[in-house]
Amino acid sequence: MGANLDEQQLDLVFPAYIRTSPDLKIISVGRSLRRLAPQAQPGTGLLDSFRIKRPTGPVDFQGWVRAGSALQLQATTGSMVLRGLVLAEEAGFLLCVSHAISSIADLEASGLTMADFSQADSSLTAILAAGFQASMLSETRELMTALAGARDEALAASKAKSAFLANMSHEIRTPLNGILGIIGTLARTPLTPSQQEMVQLIMGSGQSLERLLSDILDLSKVEAGQFAIESAPFCLGASVRDAVRLMQIRADDKGLVFGLDLAPDDETWVMGDTVRLKQVVSNLVSNAIKFTDRGRVDVVLAVTALESGRAGIRIDVRDTGIGLDAEARERVFQRFAQADDSITRRFGGTGLGLAISRDLAEAMGGEITLETKPGSGSCFTLLLNLPRAEASLQSVSPLDGPSSDVDEIAPFDSPLRVLLVEDNVTNQRVVQLILETLGAEIAVANNGQEALDLYHADGFDVILMDMQMPVMDGLTATRLIRTREGAAGWRRTPVAMLTANTLDEHRQTASNAGADYHIPKPITPESLIRGIEAALAAAGRVI
């Protein structure tokens, strides 16, 4: 095999070529090696300047020529590596080799230039591609850092917003407590029919505002990841009945037929969060009534027995209302969104109810599905999978707010001695107005410290304690009262936390401090009385 290229041509095709004699003495080298490997002088031995890395084994150029073996040389000084083939010539051998680049780091130190590579060699393209790869990696890292920063900022903003919502809700709830409490008391006094109507309107508006606040609080809890789902045995039928009780009245007022079908699963008991289940059902039914002008609203409970002692729960809320088209259906579970903007004007509401209901369903491990058709009504279905539970006597849990409304409240059999610890004068007056009509004897403390000053053995039947107060807060005061009782061996006085702090964590903190019950603000005459009764019951006392 022969090669008929002169040295000038070889310089272009293989700038790092090596021509040797049969006994491997260097005859000439390419322009690249003349610059970068000056030790490889004509007349010197090839193996003095280069070590043969491949092929391995004995040096056999004739054999490698026959086999077309790939040749790899390593310079004896420096890091230069050459790769290629060996050809046989009349005068010896021609090593058609090029520079091999194993890493970009090596390239920096190699001193190689473009002229050291043949135009036919694609190594430069590979070097460029490696540069691009490194550059893209660095760019990706930059983007990731920027995205992480943006995410952290968004999370911090969301957290701040949630905290703001919670604080504002608390601030709004306090005066609302005054309005609802006083108006509830006023409603129990003799009034003319027009005065009664006005009182009912104020009460209705206050209650709407209270529901809105609850929605906002729930939303802030969801966004803050503070949505705690409880697990306790409850009766499905009783919970659904409870959830729809007030809704039935609203349906009647609109002239709608209201159907409730709980059989045959009425008495099924499961482990779960009855308060949240009732909230979801109540939201769905409230929506169904709101968007139905004529026809009916039906609530149907169905339970399927599942493996491992679990129950597949399906609660359908079906209406004959306006229904939704495909676009509105996409939006209906989004926060602050309703089917269309005109709905807000026509029907009112914030658009939070369904979003919160979906979040609640998901927090309980379930989901809400929707079947709907414009003009033909909608069916929202709550699907849950909960463990079955044994039937038990339904008891009022300590620190669980009162859940049912009462029409009549009887005066106490004997004067109830109440220590009211509350810094807000309006709220003090609300409680006084409610309890005084029932014959209670009320001592007022403006903060926790004053409460401790007034508190003495068997001095009060119940303590109504606000949580946030100046001088000394309600939690500290409760703890000190419990400590004092323990140290002196006094009988435990029931403490009901009367507060606008309605988050689960607040209830837990109150319980840990020694409170027996939690009465959320805004209060009504009914919720206050039932709360006092429950606090007394929780502490083993009766009025």
């Binding site: 920096e108 230039t113 473009m114 430069l124 070097i127 460029l128 490696a130 540069g131 691009f132 893209m136």
Partner: protein, 179 residues
């Protein structure tokens, strides 16, 4: 053009010192962060809109902006994915210019769909270089002028760059070296 051109434009503006300019340029050009990915090819209109917005916000003519961008591009490329090849392209201005076309030929192979120009050294001696620039794009002559000025600075040489006009299907440029 590829997003690295956009990144270079951004860096040039940010290096100018007034950090409030860049958001205004983005707004004027209607661009977002996703328009600055080096390895992504964008329609030429996007790049020209960006350069137009830079000119408007810096209160410069389009020609002056392109010249400045050409000068900056050499600095940017020397710190970018091209840095290794830039170093390998030559130790002197003449050597570099003689390898400029080879550099672009390699870019052509590395970036799919890229439309790079070519550069042919017509003549060179100790005092001047005459180079023909051929591109499918028109109107970028000021950028090429800036690019050669950037190369003069890169190799620590002083001189002038002049666009001589059309020649054999391209545009000829003359680099005259001082001293």
């Amino acid at each position: 053009m590829y997003g690295m051109i956009h990144r270079a434009a951004r860096q040039m503006v940010l290096n100018g010192g007034d950090q409030s300019v860049w958001p205004r340029i983005l707004e004027r050009a209607g661009l977002e962060e996703s328009d600055f990915i080096s390895g992504q090819s964008y329609p030429d209109e996007v790049t020209f809109t960006l350069i137009g917005a830079v000119a408007a916000e810096l209160d410069l003519s389009l020609e002056e902006t392109l010249i400045r961008f050409g000068r900056y591009w050499i600095r940017f490329a020397d710190e970018s994915a091209f840095s290794h090849l830039m170093k390998m392209a030559g130790q002197t201005l003449t050597e570099f210019c003689e390898n400029l076309d080879r550099l672009h030929a390699n870019i052509d192979l590395s970036l799919p769909g890229v439309d790079v120009p070519s550069f042919l050294v017509r003549s060179s001696d100790e005092t001047s270089l005459r180079i023909t620039y051929v591109s499918s794009r028109t109107g970028l002559e000021p950028f090429v002028t800036g690019l050669f000025e950037g190369l003069l600075a890169h190799f620590g040489q002083s001189g002038q760059v002049r666009c001589l006009g059309p020649h054999e299907g391209g545009i000829d440029f003359l680099i005259t070296l001082d001293g």
